[in-house]
Symmetry: C2
Subunit: 164 residues, 2 copies
């Protein structure tokens, strides 16, 4: 994995960290990943990725559109959805199904479905990578003789800060 700052890219840190660095890290990593694959991270796609990364909260496609339109007047829904589809296919963002919204991926590059903790109070959403949970999902599917492919795991509740 490319070098990156230690505490960045985690939702827990979102109150305290330097978020500009956090975004910059994500964009830099995205460029590296795409360059290594020959995938075209165009200015438009990179701009959409940057908008998604503006916070650690899932962002709706039309919110992305509104923001994008400030600098790109031609933006229309297909513009945004195409960019989001590209970013998802490259594993740079995830869709949060229970919110119909999109979130930057903290493990970009490695294909995975993602596991999310969504605070219903502040909206901050943390992507976790929990090997035991992953195993439990695989085992559960296996017990049911089901060939699992994509896994949606979204736990909503209260983050530590909001619960306090």
């Amino acid at each position: 994995m490319a070098a990156r700052g230690a505490a960045h890219n985690t939702a827990q840190a979102h109150q305290t960290h330097n978020h500009r660095e956090c975004i910059d890290d994500a964009l830099k990593r995205a460029r590296e990943i795409c360059a290594g694959r020959g995938a075209q991270l165009t200015p438009l796609r990179e701009k959409v990725l940057q908008i998604v990364w503006r916070s650690h909260k899932p962002v709706g496609a039309y919110d992305v559109l509104d923001e994008l339109a400030r600098s790109h007047k031609a933006a229309r829904p297909p513009t945004v959805y195409r960019a989001l589809d590209f970013l998802m296919s490259e594993g740079l963002i995830h869709k949060i199904e229970s919110l119909n919204a999109y979130l930057g991926c903290v493990e970009a590059g490695a294909p995975h479905s993602g596991q999310f903790l969504i605070c219903r109070q502040c909206g901050a959403t943390e992507e976790i990578v929990d090997a035991k949970l992953e195993t439990a999902l695989d085992q559960a599917a296996k017990r049911a003789h089901f060939a699992g492919e994509r896994k949606v795991v979204e736990i909503s509740g209260l983050c530590a800060r909001c619960a306090a």
Copy 2:
């Protein structure tokens, strides 16, 4: 739990079982549950529940609407969404977030979030109740100091029949 036929109410069985009995069981159980709670399972709501139970595939709200309108010309979107909201609040159906569709609950009465195996080929969706997976979800949230409430678990892939 009320007495009910052994192989009913499972998606695996959906190719072979007597689905009329399956629906009847679900409706009977729903009536019992609502009666026991003083919840009003009106004819309209029961009809919607019956429509959702017509198959073991998640059904969209507008598909419910189309079907409902055959016997109930006044049906409009709010009619359906209100009934679906009621049925969800009573734990009689689940929403499948990744499909924006609704499915009869096989463990009606006990409040739970549900874990689903969704076949991308045939659409059949099985609700599983996997204690180990449940534990793994709780543990994962706990490790992240997150107070989990609602859990969305939807694994899509191929059911045993379609994989063969």
